[in-house]
């Protein structure tokens, strides 16, 4: 009984996701959702507002600068996590830790 319910749920989810796929634009047309006025704004005003002729850099560091700060902090969090778990403490630190124990 449990298995049948799980299968029904999976098939229902599959159908819902399939509907989503069929709604996606098949070729880059003018009425695609991602083709809106933002593109024209960036292309027309990007150089004047940021001074950078590379529009990709202008978007990721100026218009979406806070996003990129988040990406950089993800790297920082990764390195803090790895070094707190895996780093071998030097002998001096080990002795100090034993003293505290």
């Amino acid at each position: 009984m449990k298995k049948i319910i799980i299968w029904i749920l999976f098939i229902a989810l599959f159908l819902i996701l399939s509907i989503g796929i069929f709604d996606m634009p098949t070729s880059p047309t003018l009425d695609a959702p991602s083709y809106n006025e933002t593109i024209h704004y960036y292309l027309e005003n990007g150089v004047n507002e940021t001074g950078a002729i590379n529009i990709v850099t202008a978007v990721i560091t100026d218009y979406r600068g806070f996003d990129t700060l988040g990406e950089t902090i993800v790297l920082f969090a990764a390195i803090v996590a790895v070094s707190s778990v895996l780093r071998i403490p030097s002998k001096k630190n080990e002795e100090e830790a034993q003293k505290h124990e």
Binding site: V47, E49, T50, G51, A52, I53, N54, V56, T57, A58, I60, T61, D62, G65, F66, T68, L69, T72, I73, L75, F76, A78, I79, V82, S83, L86, R87, I88
Partner: protein, 142 residues
């Protein structure tokens, strides 16, 4: 690894990789590339050095102290630039309106805060790659 050819080639090629990485970081606002790809190049050059010459020699070139400082410095540069925008123009990470010099579009000294941020991202990405690699490799050696 004890291979003469590998060692000689690495010795020659590592500076070129690093110079190319710095070039890509500094020209982030002019040509394809930027902090992430340039930092990855610099990090990869030191990973190559570590693979060929061993962790001990690589730790002399890039010690844990340098890793700690550079890892934090990248983010600190980024946040400080953002705070300058917050103080001078009222919103975080403001570029031209906060008084950063815009320069002539298309030259190296242009685009206000973007090159500064690129340098910060580059330092951060490079030090992250090297430190992760050193930490993981060191664990296996012992």
């Amino acid at each position: 690894m004890n291979d003469t050819i590998l060692k000689s080639i690495t010795r020659i090629i590592v500076p070129f990789i690093q110079v190319y990485g710095v070039f890509i970081i500094l020209h982030g606002h002019l040509s394809p590339g930027g902090g992430f790809s340039g930092g990855a190049l610099i990090g990869t050059s030191l990973i190559l050095f570590t693979l060929v010459f061993g962790v001990k020699k690589a730790k002399v070139k890039f010690s844990e102290r340098v890793a700690e400082i550079s890892g934090s410095a990248g983010i600190i540069i980024y946040v400080l630039v953002g705070i300058v925008g917050l103080v001078l123009a009222g919103s975080f990470l403001t570029n031209i309106e906060a008084g950063f010099p815009a320069g002539v579009a298309g030259t190296l000294m242009s685009a206000g805060m973007i090159p500064i941020i690129m340098i910060g991202i580059g330092i951060k990405v490079a030090s992250t790659m090297i430190t992760l690699f050193h930490t993981l490799v060191e664990e296996e050696v012992r």
